[in-house]
């Protein structure tokens, strides 16, 4: 039995990361945990409509501005539960933590004695504010647990070009 931690941000690329992770851990008995780390509430402000796992987001348009922590926590729980339903893995655990994403991912993986961490290389949504690459580099530097990086592109441009070539 493997313990696998899949770290997800709130970005459309998270779907690819989650699907990749689950495809690798479909052996019976594998314990999969989906983790989302809440950094700053300001990062959750977006006017974009960007569906993830068929879920369009949790921000209430009637309450503009930076959301409160309770609102983010509730939304994030809902997001992870929707993700779990999308992935069709009923035994999957979900975990929401608050703090520095890199540190929390390393800590959570150590606490659950994870055999593998799966995370994306980039976040398109937060690229300007929280470069996922920085978090990925931090995790690679600070854990001895194997880390599988799902190479999600910055903009998806590279692949669009490759596909057309």
């Amino acid at each position: 039995m493997k313990k696998i931690l899949i770290a997800l941000d709130y970005d459309p690329t998270a779907q690819k990361v989650a699907e990749t992770g689950v495809s690798l851990c479909n052996e019976a008995g594998d314990m999969v945990t989906l983790l989302h780390v809440i950094d700053s509430p300001a990062y959750y402000v977006s006017e974009e409509y960007s569906p993830i796992m068929g879920f369009s987001g949790y921000m209430n348009p009637e309450q503009p501005g930076v959301p409160g922590l309770d609102q983010i926590l509730g939304g994030t729980e809902k997001y992870l539960q929707k993700t779990r339903a999308h992935l069709g893995h009923p035994e999957m655990r979900t975990l929401v933590k608050e703090g520095d994403p890199g540190k929390i991912i390393v800590l959570a993986a150590a606490e659950m004695k994870a055999d593998l961490i799966i995370m994306g290389s980039h976040s398109r949504r937060w690229l300007e504010m929280i470069p996922m690459g920085r978090i990925t580099t931090y995790v690679l530097h600070h854990t001895r647990i194997p880390v599988l990086i799902v190479p999600t592109g910055k903009e998806g441009v590279n692949n669009d070009l490759q596909d057309k070539a």
């Binding site: 530097h141 599988l148 998806g156």
Partner: protein, 76 residues
């Protein structure tokens, strides 16, 4: 033709090799130019994963040549 799982295992193995042997290179991993399709309606293909793995291997091999470090372990 390699399977999806075997390529992912290769990617993990090469990433771990870089993580252990060349930690100073890890900052380049998120910057690798070859990536998988991220649009929801695009499938992740074996081809894109293999291209990503090849680019990771090249990074590791080139760096190990320059620094005379241990090469990637032979595939079993």
């Amino acid at each position: 033709m390699a399977s999806y799982k075997s390529i992912m295992a290769d990617i993990l193995s090469t990433t771990m090799h870089i993580q252990e042997q060349f930690p100073e290179l890890t900052k380049f991993i998120p910057e690798m130019p070859v990536t998988i399709p991220v649009n929801i309606d695009q499938e992740i293909t074996i081809k894109s994963l293999k291209e990503y793995h090849d680019s990771l291997k090249k990074l590791s091999e080139y760096y190990s040549m320059q620094h005379k470090a241990e090469p990637l372990p032979a595939k079993t």
